[in-house]
């Protein structure tokens, strides 16, 4: 067999130099990013195959620890059989009928995690100077969403504020809602149709002097948020209690987003002024 000296300036990320290789063998791959496979037992390993070798190239990814492998002909490769909660790194080699390359450098460390039914997606905090908090790039991998809010309005008054919700930056007349609530000792029921937002209330206290330690609470459920065939139904339960009637309220609300697109962003606005800087809104995903 003739040995041919081949110049390759990109092998192994080294500075350009000549490397002696046997003609026809695949080159060592360049490792990319390893990411959690989402089921607790697998990882997806990306790489760049830098080959002009003969024949079909098969790539093998190898885990450390455990030496679990996955094979494929293109990036990424899935390595299965891993243990949830264990940190792994991965290397990739290329092979053809003539033999294998060396393994690549090691990837980043990744720990596969078994998904649970109720997961925290993100948490946002009020700024004290903005009325709206937005969650964007919401993954479509859950069945329902839940928002849990502990907050208040910065407006200086002994009163309560409503909340307004929009999805996917859609306004117009795409929303409706019904509310049953107690405010200042009186029971009310109201309805809103063809609005630019879901109007629910009342339940967030405002900020009079002497009540800095008291916040309102809300639980807002959004069902089948990722459906592309259904309009979206919202249910809210919220309340403010301050040991005084004037700024105490409790509300039950239903809402509708008349749109069959999957929800990928949610904006929650407080009615009167701004979200207090100690307000928190936590977004959770619930699996079906």
């Amino acid at each position: 067999m003739a040995i041919t000296r081949i110049k390759n300036s990109s092998i192994n990320n080294k500075t350009p130099k000549y490397n002696d290789v046997l003609a026809g063998l695949p080159f060592r791959p360049i490792i990319g990013t390893a990411t959690d496979g989402g089921n607790g037992t697998s990882v997806s390993v990306a790489f760049t195959g830098n080959n002009v070798a003969n024949g079909t190239i098969t790539y093998t990814a190898l885990s450390s620890p455990g030496s679990f492998t996955g094979t494929g002909t293109a990036s990424p490769i899935t390595v299965s059989g891993l243990t949830s909660g264990t940190a792994y790194t991965f290397q990739v080699k290329a092979g053809n009928s003539l033999g294998d390359s060396a393994y690549s450098a090691a990837s980043n460390s990744v720990t596969p995690v078994t998904p649970t039914s109720f997961e925290s997606i993100a948490t946002a905090t009020g700024t004290g100077s903005s009325a709206t908090i937005t969650f964007s790039s919401i993954p479509s991998t859950y069945q329902h969403l839940q928002l849990r809010i502990l907050g208040k309005d910065t407006y200086n008054a002994t009163n309560v504020s409503a909340l307004k919700i929009t999805f996917n930056s859609v306004g117009g007349s795409s929303y409706s809602s019904h509310n049953l609530y107690v405010y200042d000792g009186v029971i009310y029921a109201d309805a809103y149709t063809s609005r630019g937002d879901i109007y629910i209330g009342y339940g967030m206290p405002q900020s009079p002097a002497g009540k800095s330690n008291t916040f309102g609470a809300a639980i807002i459920d959004i069902h089948d948020y990722a459906s592309t065939t259904k309009n979206k139904t919202v249910r809210a339960f919220m309340g403010s209690e301050t040991n005084a009637q004037a700024d105490s309220a409790i509300a039950l609300s239903s809402g509708l987003f008349m749109n069959t697109s999957a929800i990928s962003s949610i904006s929650i606005s407080i009615e009167t002024l701004y979200w207090n800087s100690s307000s928190t809104i936590a977004l959770y995903g619930i699996r079906g």
């Binding site: 502990l150 609530y181 107690v182 000792g185 029971i187 008291t214 040991n243 309220a249 928190t280």
Partner: protein, 167 residues
């Protein structure tokens, strides 16, 4: 690190009891949720809740409830406990479902909580009750006690405390 939503403790009564208590609650979560399913031998009495065995006048609440013929609202202020049942008649025939959500229970602000209390008896006496409550204490909640001024929770009553963690 605890999971996002996980049971902290659960109790099932093997015999009737006048109190149900969760104590030594870890401060490692963001919110707490308690689910209680019970029948009891109370007649027109209220189930009450106290935090940290605190009997000071630090509890207040606003309620909205219905008995089947009307919607009613009332308030309690400066109470020594939280009153979480407003029904009339006996309640040892059908189970009652109570859910209690306590927000930022280990934080340094006053403690706000939401409660629902549902019971239906296929006739008069059923009710749906919702509450918002305030415990004017900036201390972390480390114990929760359900009790009744008279009567007891029946055998088979179950109560589970969950911890919810935010990102």
């Amino acid at each position: 690190m605890p999971a996002t939503y996980e049971p902290i403790a659960t109790t099932t009564l093997g015999s009737a009891a006048s109190t149900i208590t969760f104590s030594t609650i870890p401060a490692t979560y963001t919110d707490l949720r308690l689910v209680l399913v019970t029948k009891h031998t109370l007649t027109g009495q209220s189930i009450e809740v106290q935090y940290n065995n605190n009997t000071s006048s630090l509890y207040s609440q606003t309620s909205l409830y219905g008995y089947g013929t009307a919607a009613v609202s009332d308030r309690e202020t400066n109470g020594t406990s939280f009153l979480c049942s407003k029904w009339t008649g006996t309640r040892n025939d059908q189970p009652i479902l109570i859910t209690l959500d306590i927000f930022s229970y280990a934080g340094s602000t006053n403690k706000t909580f939401l409660m629902t209390n549902a019971s239906d008896v296929n006739g008069a006496g059923g009710s749906i009750n919702t509450y918002v409550g305030l415990f004017r204490s900036t201390s972390a909640i480390s114990s929760i006690k359900f009790f009744a001024s008279a009567g007891s929770f029946d055998t088979g009553t179950t109560a589970t405390l969950y911890g919810i963690l935010k990102a």
